[in-house]
């Protein structure tokens, strides 16, 4: 998996058409930043949309000019890779509310001329689908050949299949869940409290105050990161290995795992400069995702209008969104006699496995994408 797309450049779509949000708020105008790879064919039927996860962005593959780190799913997207850019036109947009270029809490509110901060409205998966639908029209794509996403991105894929049934032929839902469990919401709430109780948070006005609630954001990320890893994998990677050669009996870092988590949290809050308000918004969007709620809490009913064919993938050691959660999705799709395939991939990497190389995962992904490519070619 060494082939790369090479240098890629993000683009921005400015949309003046107001977006009615699920919360009731109206977003008068917004920007969506996105990247595309490969060529849209003459029939415009080879387009694949990628939906990113909580802290992800539109930079999914290839390299930005001058950067050495590729996009976050570079292992699976590129020439000859499972999502083959020689055959497919790949689109990935940054979700509204993010801090990576699309309009979000760190953007200027045109009504007030000030930074949005917590005035940025709460956004949901459905709002993201609606905004991405505007991008679809802009790109001249009648129907996506496939929409693909992992974790929160997988939820967005389901929302597409439910809300816009005739706008996609295939839905690939990886390491996702039909809704968050109480435990999932609880983890999100602790993360949000860590951010909002940081004195530097200034009720969301930290950019104007010239501060950054990085302590809170670091804690939030440490907690989140913990839920992405498995107990087994942490045991293998760190065990009880010490940072120094002997115990100090102090509150300093003693074990390697402590050092690793702190490093991950701090990198996220400082070097990667993730926006604390975006973290709040993204976790909220996750909490609110529950497509069955509108259908008497019946997930099968939620998929009643869905037409897409599905591939659902889970990972054995993922306890954040365990295989059992994916099997709920599969069951609901089967209830509607939809075409669905399901793979439960053996991995010790927990929730993070969906981003990592794995031969079974790659084999399934590649085989299914070949079906997508063949079907597009025969349209």
């Amino acid at each position: 998996m060494t082939n790369s797309i090479g240098i890629v450049t993000p683009q921005t779509l400015h949309i003046d058409q107001p977006l009615q949000l699920v919360s009731g708020a109206l977003l008068p105008q917004y920007d969506l930043v996105y990247e595309t790879y490969g060529e849209l064919n003459a029939q415009a039927n080879n387009a694949v949309l990628i939906c990113h996860a909580l802290s992800g962005d539109h930079h999914v593959a290839g390299f930005h000019q001058g950067e050495t780190k590729p996009g976050w799913w570079n292992d699976y997207i590129g020439p000859g890779k499972p999502i083959d850019t020689d055959r497919l036109f790949v689109v990935c947009s940054n979700n509204l509310g993010s801090c990576r270029g699309s309009t979000g809490p760190a953007s200027l509110n045109p009504d007030t001329g000030k930074i949005y901060g917590l005035d940025f409205p709460i956004v949901t998966c459905r709002d993201w689908v609606n905004s991405q639908n505007a991008l679809r029209q802009h790109l001249g794509i009648e129907q996506w050949a496939a929409i693909v996403g992992g974790s929160m991105g997988g939820m967005q894929v389901m929302q597409w299949a439910i809300d816009q049934p005739d706008k996609l032929r295939h839905a690939i839902v990886i390491a996702a869940a039909p809704k968050l469990s109480a435990q999932n919401i609880a983890f999100n709430e602790v993360a949000r409290r860590a951010i909002m109780t940081d004195p530097e948070f200034h009720n969301g006005r930290f950019i104007e105050a010239g501060t950054n609630p990085k302590t809170g954001l670091t804690l939030a990320r440490m907690l989140g990161h913990l839920t992405y890893l498995s107990d087994d994998m942490m045991g293998t990677k760190f065990g009880r290995e010490l940072r120094a050669d002997k115990l100090k009996y102090s509150f300093d870092v003693e074990f390697q795992v402590e050092s690793y988590l702190r490093y991950q949290g701090e990198k996220f809050a400082t070097k990667q400069n993730f926006d604390a308000s975006t973290y709040l918004l993204m976790t909220k969007a996750l909490d609110y995702f529950d497509p069955a709620a509108e259908f008497d809490h019946n997930l099968s009913q939620a998929f009643a209008r869905t037409q897409a064919k599905f591939l659902v993938v889970s990972f054995t050691s993922d306890w954040r969104f365990s295989p059992a959660r994916s099997r709920e999705i599969v069951r609901a799709l089967l209830d509607n006699d939809l075409d669905v395939s399901y793979a439960e991939v053996e991995s010790e990497h927990g929730h993070d496995a969906f981003l990592l190389p794995n031969s079974h995962y790659e084999g399934i992904f590649r085989a299914y994408m070949q079906r997508v490519i063949q079907e597009s070619a025969s349209l």
Binding site: R327, R331, L334, D335, D337, S341, Y342, G363
Partner: protein
């Protein structure tokens, strides 16, 4: 992707009504389902535990659900009577409780089609009685210690189980490993038949 079919699969296809809903347990690389889709226009799903076979089935464009037939996957995914045919070829003998699985298959499927190797075939009997060793044949090519076939039975055993569970045999066919049918097999199936194909359903419940 050549679709070279065994006569066993062709016989199964003959038993399937066109446009029906089919579930293939232990579908392997999806050859049978692909054949049924092409020749009988069935809609269906394969269930298979092996990752490599899942990939192969997916390459054929089959809907394949990675599942463990020894667990509760079948009941989890499918409602009673939701499928026209639940098929299981050459897998009954490898599951942990064939009797319970058979019952489940006939709860979910209106009918079931099952094929399995016959342990009552004369070669088996001969190896055990004359050589005093566990049989190894072309139908069952494993050693006693590495065989996945942990619940082997004869045709008579299977039919006894059906009787006990109030299961009706709708059709039966017996073939050898070349999947031919001979007169001898028709006369002495339990002695000369190597592979059996059964089409079964639950008897309408009476107060027996």
């Amino acid at each position: 992707m050549s679709l070279e079919l065994t006569p066993e699969f062709q016989l199964i296809a003959d038993w399937i009504e066109p446009h029906s809903q089919v579930l293939d347990l232990g579908c392997g690389d999806g050859t049978l389902l692909k054949h049924l889709q092409t020749t009988r226009s069935v809609r269906g799903y394969g269930m298979e535990i092996d990752p490599q076979k899942n990939i192969q089935a997916m390459l054929k464009g089959i809907n394949v659900i990675q599942s463990n037939l020894n667990g509760h996957d079948l009941e989890h995914y499918f409602d009673p009577h939701s499928v026209d045919y639940v098929i299981m070829t050459q897998a009954l003998q490898v599951v942990s409780r064939p009797d319970l699985l058979l019952e489940n298959m006939l709860t979910i499927g209106k009918q079931s089609i099952i094929t399995f190797p016959n342990f009552g075939h004369w070669k088996m009997r001969a190896q055990l009685s004359l050589r005093g060793r566990m049989p190894e044949t072309s139908a069952l090519p494993y050693h006693w210690y590495d065989t996945p076939n942990i619940h082997l039975c004869t045709f008579k055993d299977f039919e006894d189980l059906c009787e006990q569970k109030n299961i009706e045999v709708i059709a039966r066919s017996v073939v050898n490993t070349q999947h031919q049918r001979t007169l001898g097999m028709r006369l002495w199936p339990n002695l000369l038949g190597e592979v059996a194909l059964y089409k079964v359903k639950k008897r309408a419940s009476n107060q027996a």
